[in-house]
Symmetry: C2
Subunit: 113 residues, 2 copies
DNA sequence: AATAGTACTTGGCTATACATAGTACTTTAT
DNA sequence: ATAAAGTACTATGTATAGCCAAGTACTATT
């Protein structure tokens, strides 16, 4: 039972939320997402991101189109479907709710209990 | 891929953090914890909590003592070990970090990107 | 033609939350 | 005294997300 493992567990589900949010702002491909996640200090590796994108696409939340690149192989540029947009709205609510619940617990001091 | 499942995923790891925090504020047994979690709208069932407590105890983060009850079988009252306290500190940092990262992504509007 | 870089894919592993069923003890009702 | 209801804890099996690691495929550079 180490901290690193718990960090991984904490990230579960949240990453999905972040990815959907990033895509909601405009067409992006995998490396764009990794860049932005890394910038926000949310480290993600390829082996996590690509399967996640495939899962979201198969679930009908995302769609992509191939776009040729000037410097390398073609890229999959993703966008949200209507279903993906409404799913993201649900996730946003869930996340806000969860943060609120957690704060309600962690902000309760010993004295007031 | 439904919302309910993602809610479950989002809760992973966070629950552990909340439990440790609740115990850090004073001796409690399982039902106390469920009450407080329920009050904070973080629904948890017995089948989740008890194995979690056992896991944390086996990891050396918790210890308990049996206390007889006036109305039912004896109860396990939990407290944090020193190791548990420092683990909780690590988790607190991790959680705050994660919230901050998530906000950095979700508060970035389409316009500024 | 060979090497390096970029983009995407796949299979296996681990750990958590949950559903479900079960054990054990105490109190209450008949 | 016995049965029923309630409380507290235990055990087993399932699903899924994130990660590691290896691999495929295409492009650009040398």
């Amino acid at each position: 039972m180490n901290l690193e493992n718990t960090q991984v567990q904490m990230r579960k589900g949240i990453l999905e939320y972040c990815i959907l949010h990033i895509i909601s702002r405009g067409e992006v491909y995998a490396s764009d997402m990794i860049d932005e996640l890394t910038e926000a200090k949310m480290i993600v590796v390829e082996g996590t991101l690509y399967p996640l994108l495939t899962r979201l696409k198969n679930a009908g939340l995302l769609e992509y189109k191939w776009v040729e690149s000037k410097s390398g192989p073609p890229r999959k540029y993703y966008t949200l479907t209507n279903e993906g947009t409404s799913f993201l709205n649900g996730l946003t609510e869930t996340w806000n709710y969860l943060v609120q619940s957690t704060e309600m617990i962690t902000n309760r001091s010993k004295a007031t209990f």
